[in-house]
Symmetry: C2
Subunit: 225 residues, 2 copies
């Protein structure tokens, strides 16, 4: 559809601007996508607590309504901007560009963008991030990568969250990973529980290494290596 | 936005047609909306097993991709049509109208339309149903009615699902109901577990009574009472 193409082309132009600006500033940006209630905010709060003594962190919070999540993030004393999308089912690059105006963008920092809880719409909208992480709670069922393939095709990492609940569920971890890799053979996978702490060190390690690798690649491109 | 208004006006015209057709045929239609992985399909399979000896049931299954859910429903020997929305984030009334062409529409039967898993987009699209039921898994958190208000404003019933997991979660049932009623004071609420069977009889009872009430109201309108 013509209209859809125009909207996406406009979004992509804003996304390119954001990406350029974030690279210039030395900020590694991650777009967190998931269903409502996958545990994105809980994971993010724990992640910030573990990261913030090592790496500066800022957050953009997307929600249809309320600033409940932004308040939870702000309690960690991290600069946070809330975007309410109203009827909108995803963040777009223009909204994110405005949010960047209100955030301190420090060299070698990480920006987390928590998208609106939705496994369909955010997949098509580049925000200018370095990479997308799809969070899938094990309470949602192992078939979700097949049913919502665009999200898992667009993500570099699938985090299986709430794994402390696995003993109470019929969730086949191996099948879920197989489904995700049938859509996206290169997707990395981690299993975490923000509540029990299981897998959190591996997740923090992956974040720091990804940010570091991106910073070094930038250094090479700009001839500072 | 003008375009959005045109799309909604077109949808509403198709929805009116569907509603008229379903009323004429004596079919009570329920639009099931929820996040991905809330347990809609599991609840629906159990519901069909409990209902089908009493009430004829047919199903329209909406998913972005795959016919996994339709296959689960078909295993109950119920006429089922799968709609794959591709990039689309919700069913619309036009798609549902086409699906109705392939289903046996019997007097005093129930049609369940399982929408695409998404707490944002389906809220704005009338499909011609008699009522919407929002299913919220207790694994998703008690704040969801506030964060996705359009869905809970549009629903006649909120079903809290997966309550067998409550002992393992920090989910405040009373707070969740209060949040839902702050958005929609008239919303009915039931708590169920398709797995343990808890609350299922109340849910079946509510369905039969709602269908019956609608049929009698129709009877009065058409002078058959």
């Amino acid at each position: 559809m013509r209209i859809e193409k125009d909207i996406l082309a406009k979004n992509d132009a804003y996304a390119r601007e954001n990406r350029e600006r974030l690279k210039e500033a030395g900020v590694f940006a991650i777009n967190l996508v998931s269903s409502p209630g996958s545990g994105k905010t809980t994971l993010l709060v724990k992640t910030i607590e573990m990261l913030k003594s090592t790496v500066p962190v800022v957050v953009i919070e997307g929600d249809q309504e309320t600033s409940l999540d932004a308040e939870r993030i702000r309690a960690t004393n991290i600069p946070t901007v809330q975007i309410n999308t109203g009827r909108g089912c995803h963040l777009d690059a223009h909204m994110v560009g405005h949010a960047l105006d209100s955030l301190p963008l420090k060299r070698n920092s990480i920006l987390f963008v928590e998208n609106v809880g939705n496994l369909v719409c955010p997949a098509g909208f580049d925000l200018g991030e370095a990479l997308k992480v799809a969070i899938l709670s094990v309470t949602e069922g192992d078939d979700k990568p097949l049913k919502y393939p665009d999200t898992f095709a667009a993500a570099s990492m699938m985090v299986l969250s709430k794994i402390d609940l696995l003993p109470h569920l019929d969730f086949d971890v191996a099948a879920c990973i197989e489904h995700a890799r049938s859509i996206n053979p290169d997707i990395a996978v981690l299993q975490v529980s923000a509540r029990s702490g299981a897998g959190m060190v591996g997740w923090i390690d992956w974040l720091i290494n990804s940010a570091d690798r991106a910073a070094r690649a930038e250094g090479v491109v700009h001839g500072h290596a």
